[in-house]
Amino acid sequence: MSDYPYWMALAHLPNWLTEKINSLIVEIIQNRRISFVEFFELNKNEWQNEFQLNEKEVEDLQNTKLELPNYSFLAESLLEQGFSIITINSEEYSKTLKQNLKMKYSPPLLYTKGNIKLLNESSVAIVGSRKASDIALEFTKTIAKNFAKNYQIVVSGFAKGVDKTALDATLEVHGHSIIVLPQGIMTFTSGFKKYYAQIIEGDVLLLSTYHPNVPWSVGLAMGRNIYIYGLADKIYVAETDLKGGTWTGVMDGLKKDRTIYVREPESDEKNANYLLIEKGAIPVDMDGKPIQVEDKKYFELQIKNILSSKPLTAKQIKDCLHLDIDTLKLSQLISSMDFIVSEKIKKVKSFRLKNKKKLQGNLFE
């Protein structure tokens, strides 16, 4: 007898935070080592006392218990149509997702269609705005194809612009992709048809964390960004504005110490890529390769960053930045920068910023 209906009932408890649901699941199956059937046979007091649930939560669980037969109907329909239901404790569940989102945000259930093995392969997400520039789309295409050829899974959100370009480029070279849906999986019928060949070939996995029947909405589209970032080992930003899903997602990633790569913008581009670099993202060239220290702009940015709090000597800068360069040469390079002022402190030549206004963020904190 399968316990999918129990999982679904718990995963979709109304107004419960993911962390709360995950904690309860851990408590039931890991700490208490009881089955869901046994849990749902406990009475109100046992739920309250043994699982530290409040009145409201117990009431929610009682209502959910009545819906278990209904979830059985839904689960049957899903499984019969070839969808997979992947529980957070199963081997198939993406380890990357669990590691990135932890108990706080990892969805208890993944509804998928296609090759579930893709969930545990090395993966990248290429993100960016829906109205990205041609150069950003070009960048997306190039790196998506590169990753695909190197057997990396490209995680896509199936939005217009960068998402869609990354997906199409990947599939063009017969690469593998995970499409994270902004809707319930059963409602994505246009995609079933469009990506039919790739799904049955095992090149594409459709994935949704939402209730299977829920239709697309802006809220869900925003909400699924976290799972795109979560499913990827590496994140590449093609283009971002100062607001919107990409910006929020990437900032969130940076906060969580994720390594984020961003396309280095041209000088005349009006986007927030450069700002992202200043916030700590690693700039990459049009082929997705990290830009080396010798690269002037990046080097200047590092110097600006490191001198933002206090003046330092060339030797100190060299040590801080782990630079493999002659100290005298480094000193000459820094001296040539127009935003630098050199001065002698206790007979030692130190460098400081001309403009003393402190820069935001610190790449190496």
């Binding site: 007898m1 399968s2 999918y4 209906p5 129990y6 059937v37 749902f40 046979e41 009545l66 278990l68 037969p69 209904n70 059985s72 109907f73 839904l74 689960a75 049957e76 329909s77 499984l79 019969e80 149509q81 070839g82 296609g114 090759n115 059963m186 019928t189 079933f192 048809k193 039919y196 799904i199 049955i200 070939e201 095992g202 029947n213």
Partner: protein, 839 residues
């Protein structure tokens, strides 16, 4: 609630006084959230086991039932005792079903009956999520098991559902017929943890007997005699749809109120017949096993099988509906040892060939397809596609996926290879079951004991009522009187062509006979494909008689014919003769305006319909406005051409279009493959592997003949390798031929017809080719004993004499005596002379 309290409630709601032990045990366990498999004989009161608890539960009880007739009966009963219940089925309007879903969501219904197929319906799945559910019932649970007598694929999903339901959610599965193997299979499939409650199976009021007959005529005569002396009404089961019509027509012919019933009838007709049976409007219903299971009429006094069923379990189920009122009930099996050929044929051909499975798989590897598009892409019949998709879903090779509100089939990532071993295991199992039925028919011991033992009940011993226990030997011998009567019937038995539809002025027409019966088919074939000349006069006479039978003296304004694809002027000449004899104007005006392929190239009605869509017009449309048209063709197959032409005429303003054809094919449905009653038995035999014919040699001989005919070297027709491939692959149709290596489109077009005939009729071809002196058939010898001149050629002198005597007013019977020929032969000859000499 204890038993006494429950008894009180039982009295109040159901007006019943007590529970049987098994009923109470079931109800008690159900109330405790257990899972039960209840096997009890028909009439035991299985329904009460869920209806009673359903009234006590707060929420809704969903009953999955495969039988619409049963749903209707149950709803009627439940409503009459004040229990809110409804059923949802495909024969109700969608709006009505939607309203019922709404009521169920608002908890206004206690019991909802629903067909298992509904589990594939998106609206139901959406709705059920919002219903407060208390119990699930699986009625006719033997349909779950392939080892049962009526496996239904839709139950597979019900089982998947049961496995997912919470373990303490009550589930009741009920059936009247399950062997131990079937019961164990049901329990295993339900995920174990199921309590089996099983009662005894003895039906004390049944008088079982087997009547030995020698022929189909014998069955017809026995039925006519039996029914004239039999009280009450009952059911007569035939093996095929075609025979329901034949036997019902025969019984009507001898003055017995009979109706025919089969799954091919529309819902309204079926309902009318069901209602008529309930109100005793007919003495008997002649039916396939589409009627009976779940039909609740307490006083069915007899059930007669004109054909052995596939297994003892089929038989027990089919007779189970009789005598629910416990009064004496006669159960008769008419048995002729050769009858095993039909069920054997069904068993051996229950699955299409493997290359057809591959055709479906290949189509679905390209794109997801609905069942109709799958038929389009594969050129397979609807039944073939249904069987194949069921097997492929079962083996997880494809899936049925909802695309919004429509269903499509998808090939699966990492799908396994098709495994044909289960098909063979099942075939062998069914053959073994068939042997058991023959054992039943030939048994010398108690028949009730035989059936009950087969179903796992060893408690009967001796019923004391069956023919064996009473030591009665039933053997029926056909008298000449009956033989003549049957012959008379066959001569005026014509086939109705059901083509009427709402948007067309076409009316149902008539065919003079079945293509595969007697020699009509071979005569038509010879004329069309072997330069046999015009359709012979006997076909003309037979068709004219069919016209008179159906349309009487009705006058038509115009006779038209279907423009030919292959038959040259055959149909035109035929239609012209008909017009001349009947005295109706004849027209060449019906024309084809676009190229069509011969309809026989297409296996299903969708492709046939598309092939002829918009292909016809009438030259002078003003000529036919408001007119009635008699529309002549040689063969009626799916009826798509006739229907298309009917639509075109309707559009042009014709008031009435009536089709008249020489022959009707039996149709694409396997259910329709049959034997002709009262005629030579010839089952369409496709057991090619078993026939051990050296098809290759036959093909080679054909090639030599063909090469001589065309004056070209044999290898120019087909290579040896290609012939070997044909012999290996045994193609069944043009699509199969095109898949064979060594055969191109041109070859198939030139010789396809011949090759298919050789492959499909290999056995007959062999005898044709190897037997130089054909033996005189037994029926000719029989007839000559009474009519020494039977089947001898007519001389010109005979003709003149006959015409003279006939015009003097001598009756056919006397003419028969005078000429020492059968009455049928005399009638035929008179008809011919009618054409020759006129009035």
């Amino acid at each position: 609630m204890n038993r006494n309290q429950a008894k009180q409630t039982l009295r109040n709601i159901f007006n019943l006084n007590h529970f049987y032990e098994d009923q109470w045990e079931t109800i008690e366990r159900i109330s405790n959230g257990e899972r039960i498999l209840l096997i009890e004989k028909t009439g035991f009161g299985k329904s009460l086991c869920y209806q009673f608890p359903a009234t006590q539960f707060h929420g809704l009880t969903v009953v999955f039932s495969p039988l619409i007739a049963l749903m209707r009966n149950q709803i009627k009963y439940l409503k009459s005792i004040g229990i809110s219940s409804e059923c949802v089925n495909s024969e109700q309007e969608p709006e009505e079903n939607s309203e019922i879903f709404e009521k169920a969501k608002q908890s206004k219904i206690k019991i909802l009956y629903i067909a298992p197929e509904r589990q594939e319906n998106q609206e139901w799945l959406e709705a059920v999520r919002k219903m407060k559910l208390s119990m699930v019932v699986v009625d006719e649970a033997h349909c779950i098991s392939v080892w049962g007598h009526d496996f239904r694929p839709a139950f597979r999903r019900i089982i998947s559902l049961v496995k997912l339901l919470p373990s303490n959610f009550p589930v009741l599965a009920t059936t009247a017929t399950a062997t131990e193997r079937v019961a164990n299979d049901i329990i295993a499939q339900m995920g174990g943890n199921v309590k089996l409650i099983r009662g005894n199976l003895l039906r004390e009021n049944f008088y079982l007997s087997v009547v030995r007959v020698d022929s189909e005529e014998g069955k017809m005569a026995w039925l006519a005699e039996f029914l004239k002396n039999q009280n009450g009404n009952g059911l007569i089961y035939t093996g095929t749809r075609v025979n329901t019509d034949l036997f019902a027509s025969w019984l009507q012919f001898v003055g017995i109120d009979a109706a025919n019933y089969n799954a091919g009838l529309d819902a309204d007709s079926r309902k009318e017949i069901e209602d008529g049976l309930l109100s005793n409007r007919w003495k008997c219903i002649v039916s396939t096993n589409a009627l009976g299971m779940g039909f609740d009429k307490p006083d069915i006094r007899f059930i007669i099988h004109t054909q052995i069923p596939q297994s003892p379990i089929h038989y027990y189920q089919e007779i189970g509906r009789a005598g629910r009122d416990s009064l004496p009930t006669k159960i008769v099996l008419l048995y002729n040892p050769v009858d095993r050929e039909l069920p054997e044929h069904f068993i051996n051909n229950s699955r299409p060939s493997i290359n057809k499975y591959q055709r479906v798989i290949n189509a679905l590897k390209q794109e997801p397809l609905s069942i109709h598009n799958l038929m389009r892409k594969t050129n397979l019949t609807q039944i073939q596609v249904r069987v194949i998709k069921t097997d492929l879903i079962d083996q997880r090779i494809i899936r049925e996926v909802m695309y919004g509100k429509s269903k499509k089939y998808e090939y699966q990532f990492r799908a396994p290879q098709l495994d044909t071993r289960p098909f063979e295991i099942l075939r062998q199992f069914k053959i073994a079951e068939l042997k058991q039925v023959i054992e039943y028919a030939e048994a010398a011991t108690c028949r009730m004991d035989f059936l009950c033992k087969y179903l796992g009940d060893n408690s009967v011993g001796r019923c004391g009522k069956c023919d064996n226990d009473l030591q009665i030997i039933n053997k029926f011998t056909l008298t000449d009187n009956w033989k003549n009567k049957i012959k008379e019937f066959i001569e005026c038995y014509f086939l109705e062509l059901k083509v009427e539809s709402r948007n067309s002025n076409i009316v149902n027409g008539v065919a003079s006979g079945y293509y595969g019966f007697s020699n009509i088919g071979s005569v038509i074939h010879r004329c069309k494909y072997e330069n046999g000349g015009d359709f012979p006069n006997h076909l003309l006479i037979q068709t004219l008689r069919a016209f008179r039978h159906k349309f009487g003296k009705e006058k038509f304004d115009l006779v038209v014919y279907v423009p030919p694809t292959e038959s040259g002027d055959l149909v035109k000449n035929f239609a012209e003769k008909i017009a001349k004899i009947l005295g109706f104007p004849f027209s060449n005006g019906l024309k084809k305006i676009s190229k069509t392929e011969p309809q026989k190239v297409f296996e299903n009605y969708i492709l046939k319909r598309e092939n002829v869509k918009g292909a016809f017009t009438f030259e002078n449309s003003a000529e036919i406005i408001g007119k009635s048209i008699l529309f002549v063709d040689d063969i009626f197959d799916s009826g798509t051409t006739i229907k298309e032409i009917g639509k075109m005429f309707t559009y042009l303003g014709t008031a009435k279009i009536a089709p008249l054809v020489i022959a009707k094919t039996i149709g694409g449905s396997w259910d329709d493959i049959t034997k002709p009653a009262g005629l030579t038995k010839r089952i369409v035999n496709t057991k090619k592997d078993n026939l051990k014919i050296d098809l290759y040699k036959i093909l080679r001989r054909w090639r030599v003949r063909k090469a001589k005919e065309l004056s070209i070297p044999a290898y120019c027709i087909l290579s040896n390798a290609a012939l070997k491939n044909i012999a290996e692959m045994k193609p069944e149709n043009f699509m199969d031929l095109l898949e064979i290596h060594g055969l191109g489109k041109i070859t198939v077009k030139k010789y396809g017809e011949d090759i298919l005939r050789l492959v499909n009729k290999g056995f007959e071809t062999k005898s044709e080719e190897t037997t130089k002196k054909p033996k005189i058939p037994s029926y000719i010898e029989e007839n000559r004993k009474i009519y020494p001149n039977a089947y001898k050629p007519w001389t010109e002198e005979d003709n003149k004499k006959l015409w003279q005597l006939y015009n003097r007013g001598m009756k056919v019977e006397h003419l028969s005596h005078f000429f020492k020929r059968t009455k049928g032969a005399i009638s035929l000859r008179i008809n011919k002379l009618y054409i020759k000499y006129g009035k």
